[in-house]
Amino acid sequence: MPATDTSVIATEELAAAHRMGAEEFRLACEKLGRAPNLTELGIISVMWSEHCSYKSSRVWLKKLPTTGPHVICGPGENAGVIDIGDEQAIIFKMESHNHPSFIEPYQGAATGVGGIMRDVFTMGARPIALLNALRFGEPDHPKTRHLVAGVVAGIGDYGNCMGVPTVGGETNFDARYNGNILVNAMCVGLADANRIFYSAAAGAGNPVVYVGSKTGRDGIHGATMASAEFDDNSQEQRPTVQVGDPFAEKLLLEACLELMAEDAILAIQDMGAAGLTSSSVEMAAKGGSGIELNLDLVPQREEGMTAYEMMLSESQERMLMVLRPGSEPLAERIFRKWELDFAVIGTTTDTGHLVLRHKGALVADLPTGILADEAPMYNRPIAPKPVPAVVSAEDVPAPNSLGDALTALIGSPHLASRRWIWEQYDHMVMDDTVVRPGSDAAVVRIHGTNKAVALTTDVTPRYCYADPFEGGKQAVAETWRNITAAGGKPLAITDCMNFGNPERPEIMAEFARAIEGMGEACLALEYPVVSGNVSLYNETNGEGILPTPAIGGVGLIADVSRVATVALKPGDDIVVLIGAETGHLGQSLYQKQATGRVEGAPPPVDLAAEKKAGDFVRRLIEAGITGTVHDISDGGILVALAEMAIAGTRGLTFAPADGLAPHAAAFGEEQGRYLVGVSRDEAARVLDEAKAGSIPGRIVAEVGGDAIVIGGEKPLPVGELRRAHEDWFPAFMGGKR
């Protein structure tokens, strides 16, 4: 007779097969007062995994500022919640699905989108926008094209089917992601500020309800192998990839929102990673209660599933709820209407234990404290590497022609238009997308109102690698800047911390320093962190990814008619630069293009100057003085000007700064800067006001004609620049590059 998963008592070897070290296994036995059985080991190992316990990152995450006058709920729940006035709240979060997307790009990315949407609608919000931050290996790596195609199709198909617009994101290529791509998805939802749903399941005797799709053997984590040794029937190696069903998720969304309008739900939690295990444990632990489940009642897609398999399955499109007793019939009616599974599978208790029964037997009995608050926490050693010295402009060769360099940059993989991606995403459904992808932040109107949210994701990993502290600051500041450039008041951020192996002190130092930099920026900009996610061990053969703390920012626009976009518009005669010019070429894309390397210190972020310049630009938009703003980021001023010209189909004449080497003036990546399009009359006034506020500013371009004119060089027709900018991506994906 094959051994069952409860008759097997865990050993160190078995724990190792669950990626649990001997030390942790001993600790688990000690806390439990006995050795766990296999089911229990499975549960403990996933709850103590880095993914669920944040054991390496928690000590650092605590340092982030998470409060502010408009924060309704900070980190710790399924998503962060902020107040946008009029009793409305925005609920948002970003999450990684890196590893699954590398294995199966289409399904991995799709289920990443599905997962982040559940985090948001679990709390009572209707998702109103999606964003995605993507990092791929270098374009000519043999896997890259296939991964890009699969990831983009997966994100698109899932979001498109859900009817939630995907309005923005970012896309990088770098060899350091060859073996570990990053797929970070962000979801933004709208809720009634007085009807937010939380996951704490306080109180005993309340029904625990399972809704959504059936449970199969999907994605049973790394421990599949271990469990297979105890299963004589396992001829075929089980797939560890989850398959998404966006249609089921759409039904789940509508059904949940319908039930949320009633007074029936006491607590609710989506089943994400480690499905039933983490959802039930977290609900009980947060509520200070216990939970008892009868696994026979779990809707199952396959026959003969064991308790172990059910508890570890990562089948998608499922939720766990604790209902007010007596409301089961109402809830059941709603879920049946939407043709979803509905089952009362247990009750809350006052024991503080997670108790599982299956086929009449007690198969697990674990104190929830061990699994949640008492999970191991590490203060891992850090070994920061020295910050490289500042590279001076003279040490970066000047190009023969600024125009040629511009054309090459704007048509390079790093700066080429991402239209090929975002046209595969329905970015207009729900009829509130006021600013579409392709500008700085996307702007999505709050349905039925005159307000809007401005949304963006940003991080510059090469800066973070050179100096994680400045890089962390810069990532937060860049989202703040992009929101500001659209006319939004930045309110709060979510983060997705993608790093390598935290057991390596130099990686842990990257993490720690990035957090410190982020925290400093959050404080200075009054821009707290309300949710986030950590993805560690992004390494292959000892080579880690670039440190990538992706930041998702949300801002508020009070009057949707006062927004700005990057496109030069008919009334724009002048482009005014707001911000300082120092010609910082270290870590710039120009440096990479000219030398094949990025070196030196990244551009520093002066947070006080950042805030002053941003607040100034935002006021110009709010006052209706301009509707054309672009922040300056990758590629520097000349690239930003070209983007404005291309988007607006207008030419301009560039006036580089006096006293700087022309290539440094054109392509330096100093921070905290904006380009503002204004009429000739307004230009003088804007500059006077800037001066009065001691904010640096000057006229950097005259708008006119249909080419970009740079000194005595041959004018660059905007149409040609556009072609360079637009053609790279389709040509690359078509195999023509």
Partner: protein, 79 residues
């Protein structure tokens, strides 16, 4: 030479399409339908020296492009 490749989902892999088709067939009154799985059919017209080399080549195509071994099985038949 003509070949027919069928690509099917591995056992246990969720097949939302198949399930949706089964539901639709039920509501059309085909009550006898117990399960539906959807797969792909790929017909390839191929120049090859002989059957063995054709098979080898088709197999390589499946592994490299036509099927994802993580979730799919494939079968090659020469017609």
């Amino acid at each position: 030479m003509k070949a027919r490749i069928t690509v099917t989902l591995k056992n246990g892999v969720l097949d939302p399409q198949g399930r949706a088709i089964a539901n639709a067939l039920h509501s059309l009154g085909f009550g006898g339908v117990e399960d539906v799985r959807q797969g792909k059919l790929i017909e390839v017209e191929l120049k090859a020296a002989d059957e063995t080399s054709a098979k080898t080549e088709l197999d390589a195509m499946c592994r490299q492009l036509l099927a994802n071994p993580v979730i799919e099985n494939y079968r090659v038949e020469l017609l």
